[in-house]
């Protein structure tokens, strides 16, 4: 039912919080620009997660509240703090990490995700262009790819579709989709609903999803 008023889903912050819960303690994680940068604010120091920024930092600790140092920013240009044991490196070494499979998980924003896990997140046909940044390398290199995005567009059109009609970031790369309405796994059999947002029904999620969604598996409400 595209066009109908959307159900009250999660805020951007709660999507980020739910995405943070998807990360393994002790893992190395890259956060894309936009909503994903909020994820760094929702992990505990005891989780010992090391955030990698593709501009050359391993071990930054969320957005800095102190003075802006132009040489100490994340990939979104925001000032960051460091954890003890952080390191710096150049872009070649940074993408060797990313492309070489040394990043356990990446959280990226999305424009569309297809039934087979193709991601489109860099090019908006209506704007006649886009910016790819490190998204294509992260999509092929991260061992687990989490897409955090609104379930539907501002106009109410599904972002989860059978086949993407946007230029792709990479084919068959997405593992998990976290939206304001649901947590959906991309499996070799297709999309499988795992969790629903509080107060959102399975029928509402299916109605706002443009691809076949298996709802027969174990289902729970997100705990936030």
């Amino acid at each position: 039912m595209p066009g109908a008023s959307p159900p009250a889903g999660l805020s951007r912050e709660l999507i980020a919080l739910r995405a943070a819960r998807e990360l393994e303690p002790g893992s190395v994680v890259n956060l894309g620009i936009g909503l994903p940068t909020l994820v760094a604010g929702f992990v505990e120091p005891t989780d010992q997660i090391l955030f990698q920024a593709e501009n050359g930092i391993l071990g930054y600790a969320g957005i800095s509240e102190s003075d802006f140092d132009p040489d100490l920013i994340n990939a979104g240009g925001q000032p960051v703090d460091l954890v003890a044991g952080a390191s710096f490196f150049d872009t070649a070494d940074s993408f060797a990490m990313i492309r070489g499979g040394h990043i356990e998980a990446a959280v990226l924003g999305g424009l569309q995700v297809s039934a087979q896990g193709d991601l489109a997140n860099w090019y908006v046909p209506a704007r006649g262009g886009g910016s790819v940044g490190g998204a294509m390398d992260l999509a092929v290199g991260a061992r687990k790819l989490i897409v955090a995005m609104a379930h539907v567009t501002r106009e109410g059109a599904p972002r989860i579709v059978e086949v993407s009609d946007y230029p792709l970031t990479a084919e068959r790369c997405v593992d998990v989709i976290i939206t304001d309405l649901a947590v959906i796994d991309v499996t070799k059999f297709g999309l499988a609903l795992r969790e629903t947002a509080p107060g959102v029904s399975v029928a509402e999620i299916v109605g706002r999803t443009g691809a076949k969604l298996d709802t027969s598996g174990p289902l729970s409400e997100m705990s936030l």
């Binding site: 132009p70 040489d71 920013i73 240009g77 070649a92 886009g130 294509m136 092929v140």
Partner: protein, 230 residues
């Protein structure tokens, strides 16, 4: 091979030719040679190709669009997917007055590295099955498909470091390295903007980020801070 010290960024960039390909180091605000970019603007040189991570993200590279000095840009960030104030570059691009080659960041740095390291290219999965594959050779090896990416070099590289010694060794601070060391290897003329020039030996040998052999010109400048507000 000893680097030459220049008194002003304008002198340092004065021999950049019309139509040159310029590698520009930096990532948004970090390690960005803003003084050299502004000097290039003042030089009025045109028909330039700029190779940089980003244009129009608060960076001063966008200033080269004011007088249409750029014919072509090779970058990873150039047109924002979301709304907000358009950069000068975006306006020119949509008016068809500047060409854009968008390249994935990991591919851009490998192409530059290949250009500097004497390699004929590298094979990557990045871009397979996307628009980035268009016009490129795909090799199938042992049942896996790879995109062949060719080397990229510049006539000139404009880079930014924290300190230089008089031989040309460069030291970076924090996340100021990014594209700078690789770009310093991949251009015929390498011009570095630094905050301080010291004597050889003052930068410890194990803290040199770009060895002296890569650097042709150094100029000491007060850094110009830039910031991207998203």
């Amino acid at each position: 091979m000893i680097a030459e010290v220049f008194d002003s960024p304008d002198d340092a960039v004065s021999e950049i030719a019309e139509g040159a390909t310029i590698l520009v180091g930096g990532f948004v605000s970090a390690g960005t040679p803003s003084n050299l970019i502004l000097a290039l603007k003042r030089s009025g040189q045109t028909d330039l190709t700029a190779v940089a991570n980003n244009i129009g993200l608060g960076d001063l590279l966008d200033e080269l669009c004011e007088d249409r000095q750029l014919a072509r840009v090779i970058a990873t960030f150039a047109i924002r997917a979301s709304g907000g104030r358009k950069s000068r570059f975006e306006s020119l691009y949509h008016a068809g007055e500047v060409e854009l080659e968008l390249v994935p960041q990991g591919t851009l740095i490998e192409r530059l590295r290949a250009g500097g390291a004497g390699l004929g290219g590298v094979l990557t999965r990045t871009g397979l099955g996307t628009m980035m594959q268009d016009g490129k050779q795909v090799l199938e090896l042992d049942g896996e498909r790879w995109l062949l990416e060719r080397p990229l070099r510049g006539d000139v590289a404009l880079i930014k470091a924290w300190r230089a010694d008089r031989l040309g060794n460069l030291q970076y601070r924090l996340a100021g390295r990014n594209f700078n060391p690789v770009m310093a290897s991949a251009a015929d003329l390498v011009i570095a903007e630094v905050e301080e020039i010291v004597e050889p030996g003052e930068i410890p040998a194990d803290q040199v980020g770009t060895p002296a052999l890569y650097v042709d010109r150094i100029v000491q400048c007060e850094p110009i801070p830039v910031r991207w507000e998203g």
